[in-house]
Symmetry: C2
Subunit: 324 residues, 2 copies
């Protein structure tokens, strides 16, 4: 067997503010031979996500920093091309944090088996992966959304936001989305099926718009005992200093509202039930995957990542690394 080359994207420099192409570098190394108990995966699709910006920084966060010249981390799915592991046969499909590279060696820990007969491989990174789980637990467990209530989703055209809106519709809620371009707004009220959406960057009076769309109350017209789930803050990730905004604590008091942060990892024990629900809705056609796949292989990953941070994606942003 000829020696395979593994091309990777490594962290060249810690970004100052917004990441730029020179913060990444393309590297190559030979694919190592696998030992007993290991398997080799050829990566097919890579997911690029906002949290990766945190890993590029060495500030304390909930994710460990990637060392300089380390391979960028990221969830991916691929095909087992060689296996000396009893549980994973060559030819099967798996997903894990394989990083930004064409090949990954695994000992099977943290590996998820994917059945492409159930749903396309890419969905394991989107609606049937962390994206879908975050939407599911954020909306239903932390947010406690119930039929008849109004759900307002900011960042609604992003990967998690568009799934939150769809699950909220499945659960019988009225769903309003805010997004930053008119195309996204049209996408939300069209294909994705939101009840209403608006462009928060250009709308002259967002409060009045929300009052019109959600006469029963919403932020800053929070209802009594409203719940606000905080699961991501992409607009803040590239700032050198935290932005300032209005103090909302008084609204919290008046409305006895709850703002609660979440990390999807805290819900690991409940992943199976979420995946069962999400898969069911997907197969019934109620939950659309909403993916955007960048072609161009591993070299295309930095641009896809930077574009996603700039809000250029509709739904889940993936990069195709090889043919599945």
């Amino acid at each position: 067997m000829a020696t395979l080359t593994n091309r990777q994207i490594r962290l060249a420099a810690r970004p100052q503010g917004f990441p730029k192409p020179s913060d990444f570098r393309l590297a190559s190394e030979p694919v190592p031979a696998i030992a007993d108990g290991q398997l080799l995966v050829r990566v097919a699709y890579l997911s690029v996500d906002p949290y990766m910006r945190g890993r590029m920084s060495d500030a304390k966060s909930y994710v460990k920093p990637i060392p300089i010249d380390g391979v960028m981390g990221g969830f991916a799915v691929g095909k087992v091309v060689e296996s000396r592991h009893p549980s994973f046969a060559a030819g099967s499909y798996v997903g894990a944090d394989f990083g930004w590279q064409e090949y990954a060696v695994s000992d099977g820990r943290g590996l998820r088996t994917i059945d492409p007969e159930v749903a396309p491989l890419t969905t394991a990174l989107g609606v049937l992966g962390m994206t879908g789980m975050t939407a599911y637990f954020g909306l239903l467990h932390v947010g406690e959304a119930k039929a008849g209530q109004t759900v307002v989703v900011s960042g609604a055209a992003g990967a998690v936001g568009s799934v939150v809106g769809q699950i909220a519709k499945i659960k019988g809620c009225k769903v309003i989305g805010s997004a930053g371009t008119d195309d996204k707004v049209a996408h939300l009220t069209g294909e994705v099926g939101f009840d209403a959406a608006f462009n928060y960057k250009t709308h002259p009076d967002v409060t009045a718009k929300l009052r019109e769309l959600a006469p029963d109350g919403v932020i800053p017209l929070l209802n009594v005992h409203a719940r606000v789930t905080v699961c991501g803050q992409i607009s803040q990730y590239n700032l050198e200093k935290p932005e300032f905004g209005p103090r909302w604590l008084h609204q919290l008091i008046v409305k006895r509202a709850r703002f609660e942060g979440m990390l999807i990892s805290d819900f690991a024990a409940h992943f199976p039930e979420a995946l069962r629900d999400l898969t069911g809705w997907y197969r019934e056609g109620k939950l659309k995957p909403g993916e955007q796949v960048a072609p161009g292989g591993i070299e295309a990953a930095p641009a896809a990542f930077i574009g996603m941070l700039n809000g250029q994606n509709l739904g889940k942003q993936l990069v195709q690394i090889s043919d599945a």
Copy 2:
């Protein structure tokens, strides 16, 4: 019986920013004769509280605006001087929202009977009244404080803050207070019994100080699953526009923390159990009343209220209206 005169403080003008003496006016009217089913109370002590600033404004809030030339509202305690009500005998003591006036007529609704043998009359406005209840439910129900945890109290030398700290100590927590003068800091670590306190206005590095006092984590070093109860925002009440502050949502995510607003009225069903606990702690000497009583009668109420908004009080600010 000679006609009694009831002197009152009425709202003369809606304050622009900080209230000033000319926003109030002293008025007099005859005490009306009471009808069957009514009683007449001579007010002994009046409580002045931050929420009253909200009632002076006509902005939408959780309290109804006082009309221009209306009597200022406020909880007070006093003696029943005449009664045609079967449940309240002349000579007994009662508390309710009697307003800023010397006499009040009541039909008995919302009236609380106070036994001055159990605790001094003033405590019914402080540790054994709304102040104590707010501290109790905010700390134990919303904040879910448990033995061994660290409780940080801002506005710690105020009426609610100093009771929060004392209850937290009773429950076995470590208690850290922040306040705006060195005298308040000394009061907290001395008489009130906080473990530590600091002056947030003059300390050169509050984050470092908190890191030192609470090495196990605190705001902005929030612990994972930290709870922050938001029950009052006195520094914001006199602003014409909301102040801006750092965006904290990212900290909420990283720490899966919860900020939750509360209003004491939502806990009405549980008042009896809270009052039982608070009274027990008071009688065991574990909970100090921490009151500051302004002399000078009803005319002194505006200055006492303005002083309290300026943070001149230690603990609960009351005004003595008459001899009890």
